[in-house]
């Protein structure tokens, strides 16, 4: 044995000692640098999967809302918004499930919210209900006419506004919006078939408007009054005033 060791050249002995040291250093460094669970499942840290799964949730999910708000769900499941998750409009609300009184989900009353889905865009699929918000009752918020939990499609106009949509739209903005067309105009059935041959009537006397606007008229107090005797007696009212959008305040 001694003989054998003596036979090995000095440089080989030294180099092999160096090699052993290098290997030990490599093993020590590698085991300290590489995390314990690296490679346990694949070429990654196994605990990273757990870390990512532990991330905080912000959205509770539709099924949680159903537990408490069954009254609203009962309405919503029948309407067109039945497939909408509550948190689409009410925002991330997992905190509301933890402390219902402290954290209240948002309620969208802004007119700009509903058009994110319902504003007209040529790229949207045909058949999806869309409006042009600039001309769609621009002074009203959406929820004043549409119940967001059960949005009902607009009723198809069947009366006068089916043809006279422009007048109907003007009238809807005016103080006369509550007065039905038939109060001032009498149209017989034939007007629908041949409108120009069967024109509806217009008020022919000043006294017709005077029913509300005369000084002694039996009508609500905030309606503007005129003196029927002195207020331009030679004209019928609608010759100066436009009854569908009367200018007088």
């Amino acid at each position: 044995m001694k003989n054998f060791l003596a036979k090995i050249p000095e440089q080989v002995k030294r180099l092999s000692v160096l090699l052993v040291i290098l290997v030990i250093v490599f093993i020590v460094v590698r085991s300290t640098l590489i995390p314990n669970d690296f490679g346990k499942i694949g070429h990654y840290r196994a605990s990273a999967v757990q870390n990512i799964a532990n991330n905080e949730l912000h959205y509770a999910g539709q099924e949680v809302c159903v537990d408490c708000h069954d009254d609203i769900v009962a309405i919503k499941t029948k309407g067109y918004h039945k497939n909408l998750s509550c948190e689409v409009c009410h925002g991330p609300s997992i905190k509301h499930t933890e402390s219902p009184d402290e954290f209240k989900p948002q309620i969208q009353r802004n007119r700009s919210f509903c058009p994110t889905c319902h504003e007209y865009l040529p790229s949207r699929p045909t058949g999806f209900p869309q409006i042009v918000s600039a001309s769609h009752n621009p002074r009203k918020i959406c929820v004043s006419c549409h119940n967001p939990h059960n949005p009902v499609p607009p009723v198809t106009p069947k009366g006068c506004e089916a043809c006279h949509a422009e007048i109907a739209a003007t009238k809807s903005l005016s103080f006369h919006s509550e007065i039905p067309c038939t109060k001032c105009h009498v149209a017989n059935e034939k007007h629908k078939l041949s409108p120009r041959d069967n024109l509806p009537t217009k008020p022919t006397t000043r006294e017709f408007c005077g029913q509300c606007h005369a000084e002694d008229a039996n009508s609500p107090k905030d309606i503007p009054r005129i003196n029927m005797a002195t207020h331009e007696p030679r004209y019928v009212c609608w010759q100066c005033h436009y009854p569908h959008l009367p200018e007088a305040q």
Binding site: H43, Y44, I52, H58, Y59, V88, T116
Partner: protein
């Protein structure tokens, strides 16, 4: 006599030698077994704290282009759920609008990832067709981003979800370069790569990814690829399916129904 004992000794020597040889040759195998003990344990299913077993799942997503209305609720909810920076450069999911004109020009835009919606842009040219395409990490079965990661910080989990270990990521951005779908970004604060995780914190707790949860038209479908009774499997059965950049052999797990040929 002396010769005989010599022979006997020789025999004994040979026997001993063979015995020792057998022991020595078996040793590495035995050591191998010792070392593989942990590996064998690894064959047992890896279970998360809440009992979720990644190996039992294979997640995928279906997106129906014909149903997308481009409202951007998915992109908005994603930012809320995953604390994605609100600046308009960082998205885990976003919606693109494609407009194809009759002279063949294709315009693609995604202002702020569609979060604030799209504007009607009128041109004199006639638009031939137009639609929205929600984009998201495709969770490739053969992910290029994982191949290039030098430290093993991004990986395909056992349930098929491509994840980023943000504690281990060195922020070298190779994966961002490698992703053919542009689905990754560098988080401006942590300086690590980020991407869609299919809302891993949700799917491991039996909830839907938040983009699927809030989609008002059910344009997005999420589910298992390996199980028969899954909404996604039905989606794949009922629609004509396309994937993005099939030529790259990345094998995406995000499937598009009614995909237009112009979508890249």
């Amino acid at each position: 006599m002396e010769k005989k004992t010599n022979e006997a000794e020789k025999k004994l020597e040979r026997r001993n030698f063979l015995k020792k040889l057998a022991v020595v040759s078996m040793a590495p195998i035995a050591f191998g077994f010792l070392g593989s003990g942990e590996k064998l344990m690894g064959l047992k299913k890896w279970v998360l704290d809440n009992g979720y077993v990644p190996k039992d799942h294979k997640w995928g997503m279906g997106i129906d282009i014909n149903k997308c209305i481009g409202c951007g609720r998915c992109a908005d909810a994603c930012k809320n759920e995953n604390n994605v920076p609100r600046e308009p450069f960082f998205f885990r999911t976003w919606v693109e609008r494609y407009r194809i004109y009759d002279d063949g020009e294709v315009l693609v835009d995604s202002p702020d990832g569609s979060i604030d919606g799209f504007e009607v842009l009128s041109t004199k040219k006639k638009m031939e067709r137009s639609f929205f395409v929600p984009k998201i990490c495709n969770h490739c079965d053969n992910p290029p981003c994982v191949q290039v990661c030098p430290v093993g910080a991004t990986f395909k989990s056992e349930d098929g979800v491509v994840l980023v270990d943000s504690d281990y990521c060195i922020g070298c951005r190779y994966c961002i370069q490698a992703c053919p779908y542009g689905a990754r970004f560098l988080h401006p604060v942590t300086r690590t790569a980020e991407k869609c995780t299919f809302c891993y914190q949700r799917i491991t707790k039996d909830k839907l990814p938040v983009c699927v949860e809030v989609c008002p038209t059910q344009a997005r479908v999420f589910g298992e690829l390996n199980k028969k009774a899954s909404p996604l499997v039905r989606f794949l059965r009922m629609n004509k399916i396309g994937i993005l950049k099939p030529s790259l052999n990345t094998e995406p797990k995000v499937f598009y129904a009614n995909l237009d040929m112009e979508v890249k």
